[in-house]
Structure formats: structure tokens, C-alpha cells
Amino acid sequence: ARSIVISVEGMTCHSCVQAIEQHVGKRNGVHNIKVSLEDKNAVIIYDSKLQTPATLQEAIYDMGFDATSAG
């Protein structure tokens, strides 16, 4: 499994955090996701056969947030 940090802009409260954790967390190949409101990011542990930095970033972007992967 790999891990990635994605910067997330636009979250303002805990319900934003929960929405992302639940929505992205149920994707195939996502083992763990921890979203931080303070750090404005999402730390995701994933299976690189099923997800890529681009698909994870797009999943968060699609929800209406600005997401950029730090690499």
C-alpha cells in the first residue's frame, strides 16, 4: 500500500471533513483516509493497483473542493 498527502482547500467545518472521509473512504482500494481541517489536507493509504494520485485527487475535486496532490 502507498500513502499520499492531498491538499484540500474549501473545508470549513467538521461535516466537510466527514463528507470527504466517508465518500473517498468507500472507494475501492482506499485502505485508510484521515482528513485534517487544520492542516487542510487528506492523508490517504491506498492500493496502487486500484487508485492513483490522480483518481484520488479527482474524487475530492468532484465533491466541490480544490484538491492538489503534493506528490
Binding site: T12, C13, S15, C16, A19, Q22, D62, M63
Partner: protein, 71 residues
């Protein structure tokens, strides 16, 4: 003119910004968001299913309430 009225479980401006972004990205919509009442009013060429799917992308619960005539 008729507008589609939706319920979207928004709790703060982060939520309403997310709704604004997904609707902008869809395009072809004019809308008003009533955050305190958790309502979104949409005037669009898209059908209700497309609009509801788009609203649900935010990860918040959303439902269609019906047509509403604009004041």
C-alpha cells in the same frame, strides 16, 4: 418561471461553497442557495436526475422537493 427545489444537508458556508462549485462545474444552471433552510433552487436545462446526482457528489444527503414558482 419554474425552479427545481432541492434539499441539501448543508451546515455551513463550506458546504454551500461545495454545492456552488459542483453546480458551476456542471454548467448550464442558475441557482440560489438558502443555507439556513438547507435548500437549493435551480433553474436549468438539465433534468432533475442529473441535478440530483450533481448535488450528491458533494457527499451530503440531497433530495428533490419539487417545482417552485419564482417570486
Amino acid at each position: 418561471m419554474q425552479k427545481h427545489e432541492f434539499f441539501v444537508d448543508m451546515t455551513c458556508e463550506g458546504c454551500s461553497n461545495a454545492v456552488t462549485r459542483v453546480l458551476h462545474r456542471l454548467g448550464g444552471v442558475q441557482f440560489d442557495i438558502d443555507l439556513p433552510n438547507k435548500k437549493v433552487y435551480i433553474d436549468s436545462e438539465h433534468n432533475v436526475d442529473t441535478l440530483l446526482e450533481t448535488l450528491k457528489k458533494t457527499g451530503k444527503s440531497a433530495s428533490y422537493l419539487g417545482e417552485k414558482s419564482a417570486q
